[in-house]
Amino acid sequence: MDLTYTPEQQAFRAEVRAWLEAHVPGEPLEHFDATREGFEAHRAWEKTLKSGDWGMVTWPKEYGGRGLDLIQWLIFEEEYYRAGAPGRVNQNGIFLLGPTLIEFGTHEQKQRFLPKMASGEEIWAQAWSEPMAGSDLAGVRSTCVLEGDEYVLNGHKIWSSRAVFADWAFGLFRTPGTERHKGLSLIFFPLDAPGVTVNPIKKINGHVGFAEIFLENVRVPAFNRLGDEGQGWHICMATAGFERGLMLRSPARYQVAARKLAELWEAHKESADPSLEADVVRAHMNADAYALNIYQTASRLIAGAKIGPEASTNKIFWSELDIHLTQTALSILGPTAELTHEAPDACPVDWIDDYIFALAGPIYAGSNEIQRNIIAERMLGLPR
């Protein structure tokens, strides 16, 4: 146990901080889910990040990364959120598909896809869910048929985040005649390929944040399949472990939010319900516990451990802490809580939007009910 940063880690933090201070846009960008312009502004930011070689610091250098370890990644994330830098429009690529490609991809696949992912040149959407395959992902019906050295893809995907504006999707497809977990393959397809139709779906915040995707005889090279045919389920579970266990939600995000909540409390404590201070303290505790848990996980992974079913505890913890934190902010705001950012008297921090966003946390990346099943069955060993 040594909970201090080495001089190298401190120097790295200083380097990240200096670069971000010089480059983070002064004005916040329009949300990437709101409009094409907002999306493209975020893509331009990804390009700027890449110019400083900050696209994805943990990846090997040859694939567009810096070859840094997970502690350095955490330091980078801390500085990133501290600086208030724009949201990562390519998060499904860099945080989910990227680590999976590094684990399961061939050298040629990594060369082809990772550098353009790190630079934002190609922005990725995840196309797993289907109308009949939500929590029960093994119920996927979309198909892939190998013809020569091409796959022919058919089917219907839904709830694909950022697919409206993104360039590529990584989808889960079934070899016809197979069932459940067997016979699934993970295959990449361009969202502008002939036969692909993307229909925007509005989220409860009014943004076209997700989409449904129809595939009709879409042809892609067999090169676009990650891992072997039929290995898709195994690969998806590895992706999901990374998603839930480590990368999807940086602790830094909640530490910034806990700081803003403390500031909000100090500004309103004369008029707000005094019992809310306990919730402000609780929000800090939760963010701190989450950060410590992730530092511990990162240390264990560096020492050679693998992510296991305990990743499910993370997903429950961050999604619940986010709702508690943002709901506390709304309680402090009282009657101005309902104002949108367009209202002249709205709080400069868009708490209501953060709260609405937080409500999705227990649903996506595997609902919290499913996570509790996983914990009970795979961590505790209870019968199915």
């Binding site: 146990m1 909970l3 505890t313 996570q371 019968p383």
Partner: protein, 343 residues
Amino acid sequence: MDFTLNDEQMMFAETARTLFSDSCTPDHWRKMMEQGVVRDDARWASIVETGLTLVLLPEDAGGIGLSETDFALIAQEAGYVALPEPLVESAGVAMPMLAALAPGHDLLGDPAATIAIAHPLNPFVANADSAAAILLEKDGEAYLATPDQVTLTAQPSIDPFRRLFKVEWSPENAAPLGKADWDLALDRACVFNAAMGLGLAQRAVDMAVDYAKERQQFGKPIGSYQAVKHHLASAQVAIEFAKPVVAAAAAEIGARDVQARARVSHAKLIALEAADKAARASIQVHGAMGYSWEVDVHLFLKRTLALTQAWGTPAYHRARIAARIFTQPMGPDQTFAREAQNA
């Protein structure tokens, strides 16, 4: 930055685990409850023999001079068996305090001796009657007295293995030891009781898991029902997020700043909350069995309840965390920050 334990630490914890699981079984608890005793001399002798009481004592006081991290691991194992003997308060808090005040004191060399501590935050003293001596406080100064130099009034606790006393004493009948570090005593007691809480919590979950695999209703093991699964999964989530806080609190205790104190308080709060959640879930999963004296889950509930309010109430500890929030910088670069660096 390294948040992992070394092999030696894991081995020490393993040794404690084996010792406790052999010598502190449900049969042992029951026999002690029947006899109305809270100390098993044979078990205490083996605890002493294994060196568990020497972990925190400095080498010049005859100890092995290890850290709070090492002792916290032992305390967690003690929690897992709801250890009746006052290992935490005596070897984790009182003995190191005595060693700091009087490194050559005879009691430190007496393997059978336990020392009780009357911390100003606690109205009652645990295990004062069986202690070789009691550390007492007046105006920040420490005094040492034997149980027969003071007046003990028993204050029975709901926890059958915690024997509490009100202690009345006068400085004329006690040996003065000088100014003592009562804050360090508090921080240690909180971290080690938090670690105990982790053990209590995990045992409550494990007992319920074992029961839920066996007990059948509607033709299936009750553990196959989601309502049962989700109770226990939620308790396990609470445990997983208390563990790293306890580990960090133990590792940073020596910093003695507002951040370190807040983390100690945080550890105590959430580890015992996790234990409460786990114990109550466990009782619920056991049904009426869980409500019977015969099934031991209630021991975990009761110890948790006692430790939650002892050594500073939840409100006391929340206030220490609030002090960190409202006097120090907040944010993602502050996780391991120190007060001195921010000054």
